[in-house]
Each structure stands twice: as structure tokens, then as C-alpha cells.
Symmetry: C2
Subunit: 104 residues, 2 copies
Amino acid sequence: MSQFENVTVVKAANVYYDGKVSSRTVLFADGSKKTLGLLLPGEYEFGTEAAEIMEMLAGDVEVLLPGETAWQAVSAGESFNVPANSKFGIKVKTVTDYCCSYID
Amino acid sequence: MSQFENVTVVKAANVYYDGKVSSRTVLFADGSKKTLGLLLPGEYEFGTEAAEIMEMLAGDVEVLLPGETAWQAVSAGESFNVPANSKFGIKVKTVTDYCCSYID
């Protein structure tokens, strides 16, 4: 699915790390939420509230997931899951486009 | 209006200048199109096809519009128009969030 139809988009960007990480919030009729985001090269840490599914649309990263000791490579077309109320590290190798789904 | 309702959002980001400029495309039921974009500090040049209205949601820039010789400051809450089939320069001072409307 290359586009989301019949959705609501919040105009204001979500901006982190001086804009090297940014996203837009997309709200669905069923009450669910996703963000479409861009990560510039760098290393970041994020905390979750809801559990997340991070779908890589483009780019290459390594992630350090909660409870893991090894960084794991994730590339375009792949995804990874992050538990609720946790933190994860991400090393962004190339400009990375993602879609994040929040699971209540 | 802080959000767009009943729209279609293209998942893939539009990425320029190594990701320092990026946007997402929003399609409206009436056939019109807008992009929601983020500009990181830097200096850029863009070309237009359709005429554009650039609404500044956040940030500070200076723009050099077609036919002008002076850079003009534009800040959050303001907007500027760019004619079709032209080029304009933009110096981005702080992370800038914008909404661009395309006028056919």
C-alpha cells in the first residue's frame, strides 16, 4: 500500500534532534495512529509509550532493542517491533524513511 | 486549521539535499495537492512547476523570489507565493516546518 486514504494528517511536524529526526502524524478512522518519519544519518535513542512497529520504507539502520546486547541491521522493506514503555537505540547509516504504527 | 481531514497521504517521503529538505504529499478530494515539509538550516534552490503558496508553520527563512534582487525574511505564521515554472532561493536559519499548496 503506497498511500493511506481517508485519513487525517496533523499539519505540524514532530521534530527531534534539531530536525535530524522528524515525522508527521496520520490518524485513521478506526482511532489508530501512525507516523511517517525521516531519519538523517546519526545515532539516536527513543522511548516508547505504546508498542511500535517500525516499517522501513527506505534506508539502512542498526537498532539496539530493549533487552538485547547486539545491534541488529534493518534495511528498507524490513521492520522491527519495539515494546511499550521501553527505549531503543538506532544508528542511521543512510537517510531513512519509515512508517511507525502504534499498537495499543 | 491544525489538521487535514479526509485526505490521502503518500507514504514515501520526498527527499532532497541529502534529507535536509523533505516533505510528504497530501492529496485532497477536490484533486488539489499540498506538501508538508521540513527544511533544516542551509541554503537551497528550488524550481516550481505549478505556482506555489508556501505557508510557514514554524521557523525562519530568507527567500529570493523570481525577479527580485533582495532576500526577504519570512517567519512562522507568514507565507510567500512563487510563480509557476520559476526558481527561488531559500536560506533556512532555523528548522522550518511548512505547508506548500500547489495552484494549477
